[in-house]
Amino acid sequence: MKLKISLLLLPLISLVSCSVSKEISRKSFYFDTYVDIRLFEGKVENLNDINQIFAKIDKLTDNFTERNIDNIYEINRTNENVVVEPELYDILNLSFSSNLASLNYFNPLCGSLSKKWKESHENKAVLSESVINEELTKMASSGLELLGDNTVRRTGESEIDLGAVAKGYALDKVKEYLDVKNIKKYLVDAGSSSILLGEKDGGKNFIVKVSNLPNSYLELKNCFVSTSSLSRQFVEMEGQKYSHIINPNNGSAINLHEAVIVISDVGYLGDILSTDFVNESLDSIKVLEQQFNVKTIVIDNSAITYKTEGLEVINK
């Protein structure tokens, strides 16, 4: 009797388990967006570990709330020495590095200006020249001292904003973890704006659709893909599209390009460059991409205006 029932259940269970694929994945909310972790090998505990990595970096780079840890929010409240977690020290070190001096449109001290723009966007207003100039002046007299021993000290009144680098950095840490665990087949998508690609089954490329272009795809593996684009977060006022990316030289929220995609071997760098390139001229981009060893796609009016030589964009 019971045997009959269990015999009936057996094919059912095998049917159900066969229809579930070998991928283990998890969707979580970090950096104010959805992070999709997809592992094609490995175990659930790997997902848990990766969640921990994201959770930590998210806390550390959160400039809006107190998080019971010395994060960027705390650093921005004071001009005293602050001892921070090694990851935060690392991110700050990388963001303020002299390597980035050649970038004309990246400045981590945009925090206050960014917040003011966000406020005015919510009120459907444009920031006035005077407010912008005030903030720019503050930025010019602000900075960050890296004192070693995981100690930092902010100078001046401008807030430091790590939004342009947080996701990329987190993905770098995730890649380090996956390398240690010898996991090679994965795709970690942070809000569709920073993606870490491993390999697919059989060492194949992943197919990445380019949102800003019609029917266009990239075939990539083992790299980082970052984008800065107007497509999702913009406010239209007086016929102009205002972005969330601020030009740190003139304080404007109007970007030169509609979207930029950067393909790199290093996550935090791809993020920073995609933010910077959105305001760089095509000539500058050609020079900078060589200097930093990345590949770029520049999009204006839903069409490619520049693409690194040798980078293939597939049309289907």
Binding site: M1, I5, L8, L9, L12, I13, L15, V16, S19, V20, D36, L187, D189, S192, S193, I195, L197, K200, F206, I207, V208, K209, V210, S211, N212, Y217, L218, V225, T227, S229, S231, R232, A259, I261, K316
Partner: protein, 124 residues
């Protein structure tokens, strides 16, 4: 326990087991990302919509016996209005996952959602 009643319970038990198995199969094979909605009228594919990227809008399609107003909202698809007697398709509301077809029998229209196997991720 009366023999027939015992048989009834066994029957119901087996049926419930099968049903639960079936439900699991339907629920576990659902996909929620990179979805594409396909609209069929009289078994012909008339529209294919990339739900992930499509902005909210409405459009009208011609069914076997009347018109249907299809609505795309928040990455889901639904039937807003339909020329049909029972309005079952309208009552279904918006669907944003696979394994849940929307059917307008009167107009021989069905809308199915498939996990897009075209790409693995989207940038931007």
């Amino acid at each position: 326990m009366k023999k027939t009643l015992r048989n009834d319970l066994i029957l119901i038990g087996v049926l419930l087991a099968l049903i639960i198995g079936g439900l699991l199969a339907v629920l576990l094979t659902r996909k929620k990302d990179n979805l594409v909605a396909k609209i069929y009228v009289q078994s012909q594919l008339v529209e294919e919509i990339d739900l992930k990227n499509e902005p909210d809008h409405d459009f009208v399609i011609q069914g076997a016996k009347g018109k249907l107003t299809i609505s795309i909202k928040d990455h889901s698809i639904g039937v807003k209005e339909a020329d049909c007697p029972h309005q079952d398709c309208v009552h279904m509301g918006y669907v944003s996952e696979t394994n849940r077809p929307i059917i307008c029998a009167y107009n021989q229209v069905y809308i199915i959602i498939e996990g897009n196997s075209n790409y693995d991720a989207r940038i931007g």
